[in-house]
Amino acid sequence: MLKILKYSFYDLMRSRWSYVYFAFYLILGIVLLFLNTDLSKAVITLMNVIIVLVPLIGTIFGVMYYYNSKEFTELLLAQPLNRSSIFLGQYLGVALSLSMSLILGLGLPFVFYGLFKSNAIWDFSLLLITGTFLTLIFTALAFNIALSNENKIKGFGYAILLWLFLAVIYDGLFLMSLVLFEDYPLDKLSLFGTMLNPIDLSRTLILLKLDISALLGYTGAVFKKFFGTNFGLIVSIIMLSVWVILPVFRMLNKAKKKDF
């Protein structure tokens, strides 16, 4: 598995897209930090970028990589190798190279800016951790979609739909249900609703760390009580891990049964 991981990883490291992705974050980080004097403001803008772009790129890249390396995968399958190690290796290769672009691309400008002396370091680390989680989650989901669809166009379509659903439509439905049931106590429901969507969960985690919680009024108090404590943080991390583990398991299962 490690060999395949290594191969995928180096393959991707050599590819143009990794550089573009890395350069994008690098430039974004530099622009935000050196044209903007306020560090916590920069973290908020970065959050907006991360919760939208990271899932999108994770899905698209995952699907693309799978379809592109399909022939190579088939070649590997002919070898006496464990199927799960092939797919796990490929998946981790993609996910880790994307995460690395993200962490290095955003991390470098922040380090040069003097992050270690600033008290925004925790907000920033949280940002990178959630970004990494989102990459892992959405790449896994992308592999699932690609494995289930032989047709490339269909696969891309589903991948974009998935992103659209979790990033936009879910929030719309969530908002509608909150407005619809406004006569009922909603804090439990909204807590539950946020937990179910990894993008919402990441957003809420970062927002609460940025102390926007006071804006949230009574609901904020409930949320702060949950997410602000170690318990809430652990539950959120577990939830995000579940979001990684479940798609990976389904991917491995699917790969085992699939007839290539």
């Binding site: 929030d171 908002l175 909150l178 804090d187 957003r203 102390d211 006071a214 804006l215 009024g217 609901t219």
Partner: protein
């Protein structure tokens, strides 16, 4: 002319009396070791010098015009038994005392220093600690409260008192005081023509400064930091608010400035920074907001019902989560020539005024008003999309709520 002659005569007599005034010293080793004793034997316009030491006294009643001066901050310890100093005479000066341990009562408002029905008093350089009420001015006029430091230890609203309280008092000047950890820093009830200047009021449980039924007052150059709400102005007329700083009044029910049922006020040159709600207004009429800075607040301004003829001109709205929340019609309120950091229009003719009007009310702020729980979707992509579509064609928000001449650059004054 007659008045001038009379006042000249008064001044003359006063100076004559002053010449005759004695100085009485109080210290633990002096002939007189009690403050009460000194007051009893003193004559009008005497001075009482209190030397350094601890005086365990309470219910000290000053019933003649005296000047009481503490040397090196003598401590007057009320031992939590009740009120400490009560002034019931005109022309009293209190200077440089350290008063601690005022009794707490649920039936009486014990104060460290109370002024009752007196004129021309001066209270300065006093330090008050462990207090219930600090300085309580009751039906008094023409007084000065300067350079005092009031540090309470209030935890709950129901069993704590206010730092400086004015009740039916007129023409009082309150300057350069530092007040923290009490219920209301400064509280004015039925008090008119007062000037509140250069004070710092911080970490109070309820309000930094609180007006009730008080008219024609001015407060300027004060700092209100980290209070339940910075300043509350209620049921008052003609209050002038100049160059104050409202900072970090942050919490689920906190405001920088709370205006309720007030008319004809001027709010000019203030800074509202990092408050949950910068200004909350309800039932206010004919108020001019000019040259204020709203920086990084949750809501810069929350406008609730029944507000008419308010003018918001030339203010800076910088990086607030929401600029304005509005839950009624525009009425005849006016927004013009403000700078909005969220403005995304252009200025083709380069006259410094954006060519496209700015809509300060977002759809999301309207939704949050209706269902507060939805705020959990703050900064979600979906919210940005619906905000954008609402901005293009307003359906829910008042469509005439516009700044027709948004400034392109931050307004300087």
């Amino acid at each position: 002319m007659k008045k001038i002659i009379i006042s000249l005569i008064i001044i003359f007599y006063a100076s004559v009396l002053n010449v005759k005034a004695d100085t009485i010293e109080v210290c633990s080793t002096c002939n007189i070791s009690k403050i009460k004793e000194a007051i009893t034997i003193s004559k009008d316009y005497d001075s009482i010098l209190i030397k350094k030491g601890t005086y365990k006294e309470y219910n000290i009643i000053i019933d003649k015009p005296l000047t009481i001066i503490g040397v090196n901050y003598p401590i007057i310890d009320g031992e939590n038994k009740g009120e400490i100093i009560t002034i019931i005479s005109d022309n009293v000066t209190i200077d440089g005392l350290f008063v601690i341990n005022v009794g707490t009562s649920y039936t009486e408002d014990y104060a460290a220093i109370r002024v009752r029905k007196s004129k021309n008093f001066v209270i300065q350089n006093v330090v008050l600690e462990k207090l219930f009420f600090g300085i309580y001015l009751e039906k008094s006029r023409n007084g000065k409260v300067y350079h005092n430091k009031i540090i309470g230890n209030a935890v709950e609203e129901y069993n704590s008192g206010n730092g400086i309280q004015l009740w039916y008092s007129q023409n009082i000047e309150i300057e350069h005081n530092y007040i923290e950890h009490v219920r209301d820093g400064i509280y004015l009830e039925f008090s008119n023509n007062c000037l509140i200047k250069n004070n710092v009021s911080a970490n109070n449980i309820r309000y930094g400064l609180h007006f009730m039924f008080s008219n024609d007052d001015i407060y300027q150059d004060n700092t209100f930091e980290n209070n339940g709400a910075g300043v509350a102005v209620m049921f008052s007329k003609k209050i002038t608010m100049l160059n104050n700083i409202f900072k970090e009044n942050w919490g689920s029910a906190s405001y920088g400035l709370l205006l309720k049922e007030i008319n004809d006020a001027e709010i000019i040159g203030n800074i509202f920074e990092e408050n949950t709600i910068g200004i909350n207004i309800e039932g206010t009429n004919r108020i001019n907001y000019k040259n204020n800075n709203f920086i990084r607040n949750g809501w810069a301004m929350k406008v609730r019902g029944a507000c008419y003829a308010n003018k918001f001109l030339s203010n800076n709205f910088l990086y607030n989560s929401f600029d304005i929340s509005y839950n009624s019609k525009l009425n005849d309120n006016e927004f013009d020539n403000n700078y909005w950091s969220n403005y995304s229009g252009y200025d083709l003719d380069k006259d410094g005024i954006g060519d496209v009007p700015y809509r300060p009310v977002k759809l999301f702020s309207y939704i949050v008003n209706r269902t507060p729980e939805t705020i959990i979707l703050l900064r979600s992509l979906f919210i940005d999309i619906i905000d954008f579509s609402e901005r293009v064609s307003p359906v829910f928000t008042p469509d005439n709520l516009l700044d027709n001449h948004p400034s392109i650059k931050k307004i300087e004054w």
